[in-house]
Symmetry: C2
Subunit: 203 residues, 2 copies
Amino acid sequence: MIGKVAQRRETKVATIVAAAWDLARANGIGGLSLHSLARAVGMRQPSLYEYFDSKHALYDEMFADGNRQLLARLDALTLSPDPRAALKTYMRTFVDFALEDPARCALLFQRPIPGFEPSAESYAYAARALDGAVDRLHAAGIEDPSDVDCCIALVGGLIEAQMSNEPNGDRWTRHLDRLIDMYVDNFSKSQLSPAKSSRRKRQ
Amino acid sequence: MIGKVAQRRETKVATIVAAAWDLARANGIGGLSLHSLARAVGMRQPSLYEYFDSKHALYDEMFADGNRQLLARLDALTLSPDPRAALKTYMRTFVDFALEDPARCALLFQRPIPGFEPSAESYAYAARALDGAVDRLHAAGIEDPSDVDCCIALVGGLIEAQMSNEPNGDRWTRHLDRLIDMYVDNFSKSQLSPAKSSRRKRQ
DNA sequence: GTCTATACATCGATAGAC
DNA sequence: GTCTATCGATGTATAGAC
């Protein structure tokens, strides 16, 4: 059981982290300052040190929080029994999540803060989300680690291109399903899904 | 004809830009300060304003310079008459260029400096390099603009994954040729290259 | 064209009163 | 637990002497 004091503290930390995301959305993840964050939650800047040992500790909390948001989204999915369809849904969820908040995307999937590395505890959340993608790829017959790497990189490429060039459009991301089809058709070992065309052998 | 004074000035600007790249490599593109840059070329910080109106103007000069480096590399290529081989060589050159200097890659291909947008003159260099890639894709039979977009995004995804996770390795980039083969096999309209397998029709 | 000096702002972090 | 006050560092940019 958690004491009321500790619980109140947790709530306050959550409030601060939520406000930090608001500011990051407005000014970029790198433009987040403790001064403005404190004012946003009705405090002065030094008071934040009651809740975070340093700015990096705040970033770490945000990193964990963002990944928990992603996991919640992924865990809530009802995936098709068809592995290929499940893979598409999983990846689409990933893409949508990444694009709906550039600042969050930057903190979670890039290294935008010099000197900041997530703690092992926080990184574990990120690893879980990635493991889910690997599982869906395996189920769809993508078993070679290289093929897994490349498929995830391909999805990352779509996200990056979309966000850099047209943050609110779908010029790149609308091709996600088609590219997954191509990829699975070419590299799936088991062909669990109905193949509508022949596939190309690995050399 | 350019006067000696203007020429000397150009040389000095080039020296400063070269030193700026050195510092960016050492401290990150965002960690570049005018103070340290000035000291690196034997000046004091205010003197730099004789050559650049602002820090953004310096970034713009670096942006143009980096893209000129890339264009020089691409223009020096002797491309195979086989369009598919030419495409691979072009993209490989692009990938190698991006990976050999993360700071340069960040300035040229991402938006790492809040508020900095390259000028139209500087951006024209970048556009030329990208146009070359589009031409090579067209020659290889990738004509649909969507397919062109996706292939470039795919290459970008390999670069991003490689640089984020393993800057000096080739876990992702070694699959460049194989992915290009897959892509051309699936999406080429003209099949100029010998196709070793059937291809998948677009829906 | 380069310098010294400085204005002016922002930031993270700490000390210590309450 | 929150505050005021402040330290110390860094940063861009400008004024004005030489």
